[in-house]
Subunit: 111 residues, 2 copies
DNA sequence: ATCAGATACATAGTATAACAATGTATTTTG
DNA sequence: CAAAATACATTGTTATACTATGTATCTGAT
């Protein structure tokens, strides 16, 4: 038996799930990348590697689901803030609906 | 915008999720591959391609989470039945717990 | 009787996404 | 003053779902 099965499985479950979480987090408030990672870690117990988040946001931007803008800081490194677009909101609604059904199915078969 | 985003996302969400669903389905009852696909399709609205399920079951077998045995049919092609092992039951319990927490987090941030 | 579709297994190749490792640069804290 | 935290980013690796394809048997409709 592979003792690493569970951690590997958790990593696989994140595929897709992280997108859902990131978009939901951006609903109603803008965040910059590093802040998003911290916020998600605190609110979901989920670790997102930086090497996961930045490529993810680039994909979402390319898909038109989020927009981004650089904000200069009075001191320090400028921050790139992400915001949910109209298209992003629409897709997110579909995604949340799908997730709900999925969870319902899993609850049904796992009892 | 990429109109195919949503279908592609759904496919990504299946990564890991299908393992959870397959193992839960095998809890309490044995199924053969083709039957598993049909059963899952009926109970979850989830399509599992055959090219997904058979490699998945082989992985789970290699991990020791399921066992398999061939059952000859009076007529027709023999069927390979899968059963959850003790180790599989234990891991499944962890997985169901993790999923529960994950869903709770998502419900929290998506309101 | 024949042919299409369902049943039942399986594999090879492709695409996608998470992660570790690495890199740059600045600011804060001990 | 050095280490840790902040803040961005990319490259290469790994795991998994899917399409396409292949084999073989059985059932139902014309």
């Amino acid at each position: 038996m592979d003792a690493d099965f569970f951690p590997k499985w958790k990593s696989q479950v994140k595929k897709g799930t992280l997108t859902l979480i990131a978009l939901n987090t951006l609903k109603g408030q803008e965040y910059y990348g590093y802040e998003l990672i911290e916020h998600i870690k605190r609110n979901t117990e989920l670790e997102i590697a930086e090497g996961t988040l930045y490529p993810l946001m680039n994909r979402l931007k390319k898909e038109g689901l989020v927009s981004s803008k650089w904000i200069e800081q009075e001191s320090g490194i400028p921050r790139k803030y992400y915001a949910l677009t109209k298209a992003g909101e629409q897709v997110l609604t579909e995604m949340n609906q799908y997730w709900k059904e999925l969870d319902k199915s899993i609850q049904k078969i796992s009892r």
